[in-house]
Amino acid sequence: MKYFAKKIITLIMTLFVVSVAAFVAFQIIPGDVVTSILGTEATPEREVQLRAQLGLDRPPIERYVNWITDVLKGDLGVSYRYSKNMNEMMPVAELIGDKLPVTLWLAAVSLGIIIVVSIPLGVLWARSRSRVADALFSVCTQVTMAVPSFFLGILVTYLFGIILKLFAPGGYVSYKEDFAGFLGYLLFPAISIALPKVAMTARFLRNSMLTEMKSDYVRTAYSKGCTDRRVMYAHVLRNALMPVVTFLGMIIAEIVAGSIVVEQVFGLPGVGRLLISSISTRDFPVVEILILYITFVVIFVYFLVDILYRVIDPRISNR
């Protein structure tokens, strides 16, 4: 229990540090945004008015406290670039709202593919006795790992979209209208994200199993009269999967990053595209919230992986 308390404190501390960093990075360093919103020809009165409206005339610490309490209350601020109409500015929450599920689902589907495909593949590879099969696996993983996800996305679009016509490039159905169709549209982008990671994970599992096969307890199992199959599945696999859990946790961040890029390739309306466009238009309130959000997701997943690890490894959980 003490451990979890410790972990949660660390989690909160990290979030705090990231929020301060984000605040400093996007609200202090860039300087005054008012001129960039209004342009150089605005009247001084209008500038003062907007500055007060945005709270920019306050000292930094007060601005941070106000901002973070607003964020915690659910008020995520307003975009500098988008506006609802002439007089009303666009709230960030509204801007992000229906884009977030797209990205999260994309990451989740990718992770699902990685787990479902790489574990049997890794076991198969570890079991393969023939040198030809081993070499084949080896070459395939090396090549797959070298393909960047956006190039893979383009290849997938060309092959499955343009030649085989399995999906319409650039097409999309909202998850609100047709969830199954929505997942269908996520499939190919998810494959583009997952493929290199599948290769990495399978290779990692295979190495982990080969290492475990050399341990003393495997010899003990054989000395009791266990069959090869029994040694492999009952004894080795569980021990070999433990480092794989950590490994999967580590690549979560890369999956999220991958989905940001791949959204761009497939034209999916997720937060990744919003983030990229907000960065190029220097729409800092949006960037800031998105960064916080993605960080939160990644850190939270790490937290879950850590707990999972403690559940499956008796050497840690009992301490």
């Binding site: 003393d216 010899r219 003990t220 054989y222 000395s223 008796p314």
Partner: protein, 522 residues
Amino acid sequence: MIRIEDLTVAFGETEAVKHVNLELKPGEILGVVGESGSGKSVTALTLMGLISEEARITTGRILFDDVVLAEAGRPKDKALYRKYQGDRMSMIFQEPMTSLNPTWKVGRQVEETLRLHRDLSKEERRRQVLDAFTAVGLRDVEKVYGSYPHELSGGMRQRVMIAMAVILHPGLIVADEPTTALDVTIQNQIIELLRKINSEQKNTMLFITHDLNLARRICQRIAVMKDGRVVETGPTEEIFETPREAYTRRLIQAVPSRIKKTRKTENAVSPDKADNILEVRDLNVYYREGGNSLFAGKRKHCVVENATFDIKVGEILGLVGESGCGKTSLSKAILRMNKNIQGSIVCREPYPQMIFQDPYSSLNPVKTVGWLLKEPLRALGRLDPSREMTEADMEAAAYDMLRKVGMEESYFHRRPSQLSGGQRQRISIGQALITRPRLVIADEPVSALDVTMQAQIMELMLELQEELKLSYLFISHDINVIYRMSDRIMVMQRGRIVEIGDTEGVFRNPGQEYTKLLLKES
């Protein structure tokens, strides 16, 4: 009856076991004794059908009650072996920690043997496992049944391993160094247990060890192995009384069985009248729990309590005790490597040096022998300008030291990876002594070495001690090694010094129960 006939086992081109013949009579304990690399473990693993797949049997065969288990030129019959493994033959390994599956409860691991060979109900299997646990002397068996290996002590784990091996009353038990990883007191209990099982279950036992004394205590017959061959076989007493082979004689002599060191006292300083080189008074040594992290507890853990002793100039003080008794913590405190101490340490040698246990980790692997020998002189020159030397002088001193530790000059440009364990330990000693410190702490300097090498290194350390008029604090868990080396001995138990005195006196007339126990073990 188990027969190994003309067995040769090869890994690629190299033969690890060469034309070995061994016969085990029903109910006997046969010891196979040899240094590391002698092929004793390979023989045992081949017999058990556990040898790795790169190994091939190139000549001979293995018979178990007239059934041919393995034969040259025949692929390994895994199905046949599986019928024997666990049921009619079983094995006890050296490392009980790594030999048990870390993620399985130990009860289930023992139960697996039953499940593989007998058709029993779940309750019956559990009952038999608990009975086996009781039989090997485990207490609180229900709790042990549900424990993971890391929750048990080393001795308990080895008992679990033994329970696993004997639960089906196999005809053959192979024990590969079953006590090497354990403390002396536990060692003794495990030996007794094996002897008891042998007399109750009447199994044949193949007992593999590097330790002749241990073999003498438990085996009826002994086979001595060297370089993959059996050089001599015979009843235990015969081997010890009238060894036929020169190698066996060397092995027996190398065992430090209470041989008193021979001193040319004319050259040595008489310790009685000499000054103290080290004075330790009321020393407490602490360790902070949980390391240096932010979350680390502030609680200190006392590992050495109230230590008071002296070392005189030219004296060897032997420090003996089991692992975890605080020997190493004490030496680190003296060397100021741990500053968490209370009490006083007065050391009249400004730069005392240390010789470490593991010759593989105590030399920097990227440097040459010559560089390693010169580095202490360079460092000393920087600390103490009066002792600064020219490059040529350092080079000469390094060559001189290389000769002193009994190595040829051609080794000067080699790297540690090109040396054997014994050679590394020689360089390690040379590195410690090249600055001519008057006090050297030797922490288990021979424990990682084979017996013949042990004897040579001890001899070298004694020679250099007289020549350079050194004082040693000589640490070991091996009471025989201590006896051979020390003028006085100091016994430690759980962080306290329980006895200190003249070597002969303590050995003849130990004042403490614990010392008696330690002496009895060997």
